[in-house]
Homo-oligomer: 312 residues x 4
């Protein structure tokens, strides 16, 4: 019958289009773009934070990475330093604890001085039906993502203002900060809070020489994110199917964007929120996008039906 | 295998939840809320425009409806008048033609005087792959929706300003004005344009006593919309499945909202855009909402997998 | 000189337009619209929460109001009950404390059973340069606004789901949840988080019979808000000047909107965010809105200059 | 008195902060990033279009620029070619005319083949109170900006799809596409329409190898924009005052961003809208940002007043 027609004859998605969109693996910015700059990256030991650290280090920055697991940080720091020749420092810090953050910034100051580039990238997340969330589960995410980002940002901001030193702040949120999403409600709420914080400070702290921008990544395979968001691996295919670019993102792609936003090339950018997701968000959100399942032959039939409609 | 696991055991959607959300069929505002008010509704002869006209007329407004098909307008006007006891006037007008719009407003002025309430509801739309759109097909939609709304709004606005008379303007757009949507690109563009026009005028013309607001409806069955957007009827079930409220909207529901927005109860509302869609938009846009297909048993397995994840 | 021309001859703003937009002081919904319904309002003892409680009570609801100050709650409850003839219950509760929230819901269940209507209205806020915020000052706001709303929502949601009972959830945020704002960064962040939580749950919990909507108020004089946001009173005039409707909002106006959103007339609305601000937001945000200071004579000069421009 | 206190003692804005945000004048992308690529830029003869053309040409692209004024195009093409050593072609085209657009693309195909990079940059605009706009004035802007962009995009899209060739589409809109703005309503509407078109096609045409992104610039001095938006020059200071970065943008800054978005480094970006405005938008839109006028001494007084507030 007409009602089930499309399902049966649906266009098969091959995501073959990803061939049109090969990721560029190299580094985009000119050599030395971060020469004499200090970059502080939370969660810089793994995943996207590690990729951003590697790129900034390659471009000449002295990097400082901070998170809870000292051993992970140290191994990353050594690997990156040995590749780039630029020192990567490590500081152990749990961003949920304001005193730990303060001590971490003390250490940072004595290691490198206050940073020119700050990347708030540390986060926690897991999928869970909201009715199964305890207050502690709620706080386990919002404390890292929202309070952690605020503590780091306020502590560094105060000291930078005190020292009359400008800086670029970048935070990594997610595409569902905008729309919200079931099954990741604490993360959605906390990330939306981070975006509002950054927009607020972009307006307020420009006069102190600070810029604030945001990247909202779509899905990029990292162990940290995927093991807690798609533990069975069964969700990934559906994501790729709906991504117009036909593939997941690569850490190096986000690292190049982050380096641009943190560099002088973007010194006029502040208060911006940049979605970087292969088109996934617009593809999900648009009400008629499922019609990509309609075949050319079916379109002919539909067009004839529409044309024959009379009146309203 | 794990990868196909969810598809096979997926939760069956019954949309049984619609039982929780019965539509209220009555009229919301107090009797006489539009007594001594004149309302002008484009596209008021059919579908949602007709429902809004019926409600305003019931509430005491003198209504004037305008569109291309005089016979349709007349029949609607008679039916509504005979039910409500309040006169409904008709004016033939093709909103794409600025001179026709000017003549229509002449007629309106002589019939009822300038209106207190204006509803830009007339529109055209059809689904079509964008690569099949000719320039004329593009213009056939944008000329009605964007230019038509602008011509009506500017013509009435000028005369109202001249007469130092305040008014409430309301436009009906759509949820994909915000996100865009494939297969309805001309409509998405034109409706987004209407929203920007209204936000612009809300800021600019407040000083003349004018308010401007928008309703973005989700799917509400009308002959005009559904025959051109879902001619085969096969799309409707998928829409209902993803609407959290579990059902389509009813014309009377939008009519009650429109009456509120056009009334003095909303005299402090201007520049607002109100999504009215049973939750469809947030449900589509949120990246993890497909996890509603996961069963409670599967959640237990997933939680165990997540818990056992070590490190990032 | 031309450069200072506008400042000197600027249009004087009288906000006389507020005469066009008289607030409707009466109650909008039909008598008995909340008959047999239970409404739970946090922060219902004062300000906007009190106004919403009064309106719902007038419409037949049994209300339960909760906040920290028992005496304030009790006085409000008595005053409203004596006016409406419908019982208003009080429960002391600090929403920052999940155990207190749980006990509060226990009390609520035994007083009235689980509610049909939930309004998350409790909040804290004060103006402060962000560089003067301690971690505790940050948390003093986000703990009430974001965590408090989450604890109340999750606790009630779980029990309602357990009981297979539907409900309408409404939260009160603010217009700067969207844009962020300097000098109120913790509030902006927490309110943005609340919006994301509600959009997430609108998508996720529709299947359990729950709707989630948001009102973003612009400035409405209440003692609580104005004493902490405009202690000197010098900010108010600037706000009124830029509000297209030419006046502040009234508590009863927001109460009527809230009653609509919580009623069956809005049973198809979920995931919506409704700005209610007299047009303030669009007026501030639009880049050229300051041109309202240009007089008609100056426009003639400017038009001539523009017309004489040749080329790009 | 307290009410006028702030005005009198207001912080003097020097925009001295612009010293923190020096524009980078060099080219960001690696040499040869557009080697063997063809770029088509509408309005490429002047202003921002010219700057983007110069940068792409410098990076190795063969550029084709199109607009109405052949002499302007030719002079620009010669100047750029002679600097970069890469050929810049010119095609006369009025984008409002679909047949002219079709002929232009014919010419383009024979000159260079179909393009890899398309930049829809042509636009028209002028400030004007909306009540002074005739239907023709309305159309003079929307025909260029919305219809022109659509005609160019649809014509190129069809041929690229036919040839199975991927491409990057970029459009230049404006920050008030999002908020609307009085006094530029036709431009706001048309630019909002362009954004919706691009989001729609990002979702729909990914499968054909096409990406669609947007830059929303804030104020960047060009003869074309400033002569029609600020003919007296009196508006510029107010703009700079509210831009957190303390200065206008530079054409080369937008050219670097546009080159990035059009390059393979951004091959995973589609459906994105990037605000590039020195923070102006968030600074205008945030309700409490005017408090930057409060001096440190005044903050102390205000804090004491807030602290002494009791109750709600
Ligand atoms: N990958 C994606 O698809 C994706 C998509 C959207 C957004 N994102 C965002 O991208 C960012 C990086 O994610 P990822 O994918 O790279 O995952 P990841 O490897 O798990 O990164 C998270 C990092 O945060 C650190 N962290 C967690 N809790 C912390 C705490 N309390 N204090 C200090 N550091 C803490 C972790 O280090 P320790 O365990 O050592 O503390 C870890 O290095 C996150 O903000 C994430 O939300 C990722
Ligand atoms: N129903 C839905 O699900 C839905 C969803 C989202 C948005 N909307 C919007 O809701 C509004 C009403 O739609 P509907 O569903 O009620 O469909 P409809 O019955 O087809 O209404 C469209 C109306 O517009 C009038 N119209 C079309 N072209 C016109 C022109 N050139 N000049 C003057 N009037 C013209 C039509 O009358 P004539 O043919 O007599 O001119 C008709 O009365 C539209 O703006 C639509 O975009 C509807
Ligand atoms: N008025 C405006 O212009 C405006 C504008 C935008 C948004 N809003 C929002 O509107 C809502 C109401 O504000 P309002 O103007 O009516 O101010 P308000 O009178 O100060 O209301 C705030 C209420 O929250 C309660 N509350 C504070 N902390 C609490 C806690 N920890 N636990 C439980 N309850 C707590 C307070 O009661 P106790 O002190 O007894 O706890 C008080 O009743 C707030 O969400 C506010 O953000 C107001
Ligand atoms: N500068 C800013 O501050 C600013 C801010 C926000 C957005 N923008 C946007 O940036 C873009 C470039 O602006 P600009 O500042 O560089 O101003 P501009 O120099 O005036 O550029 C406009 C270009 O559009 C071309 N054009 C106009 N009508 C055309 C038509 N019918 N057909 C073909 N081409 C046409 C013009 O060339 P011909 O006259 O030869 O046709 C001109 O080259 C525009 O989209 C503008 O809206 C600029």
């Amino acid at each position: 019958s007409l009602k089930t027609w499309f399902r049966c004859s649906a266009v098969q998605f091959s995501s073959a289009q990803s061939g049109f969109f090969p990721p560029a693996e190299g580094i985009m910015l000119p050599v030395g773009a971060f020469h004499n700059r200090v970059a502080f990256i939370t969660g810089g030991g793994t995943g996207l934070g590690r990729a951003m650290t590697a790129t900034l280090s390659q471009l000449g920055a002295q990097c400082v990475i901070a998170s809870r697991k000292l051993d992970v940080l140290q191994q990353t720091a050594e690997e990156i330093s040995s590749q780039t020749g630029n020192k990567v420092h490590v500081v152990q810090c749990d961003v949920r604890d304001p005193q730990a953050v303060s001590r971490c910034v003390d250490q940072l100051e004595s290691l490198t001085g206050l940073p020119d580039v700050i990347i708030n990238n540390a986060a926690g997340n897991f999928v869970c039906p909201s009715e199964r969330l305890s207050p502690n589960a709620w706080k386990s995410i919002t404390d890292i993502v929202l309070n952690g980002t605020a503590f780091v940002t306020l502590e560094l901001g105060k000291r930078l203002i005190q020292s009359q030193k400008g800086a670029s702040f970048l935070a990594i949120t997610t595409i569902y900060a905008e729309s919200g999403s079931g099954f990741v409600a604490p993360s959605a709420s906390a990330k939306a809070g981070v975006e509002a914080l950054y927009k607020s400070l972009a307006a307020e702290w420009g006069r102190y020489g600070h810029r604030f921008n945001i990247i909202q990544p779509g899905p990029i395979r990292t162990k940290g994110a995927f093991s807690r968001l798609d533990p069975t691996g069964s969700f990934e295919k559906a994501m790729i199917d709906r991504i117009p670019v036909g593939r997941l993102g690569k850490p190096v792609e986000i690292a190049n964007l982050a380096a641009y936003l943190s560099s002088d090339f973007a010194s006029w950018m502040s208060g911006a929120i940049i979605r970087f997701d292969g088109g996934e968000y617009v593809s999900m959100a648009g009400e008629f996008n499922d019609l990509r399942r309609v075949t050319p032959e079916q379109w002919k039939v539909m067009e004839a039906m529409i044309r024959s409609t009379k009146g309203s």
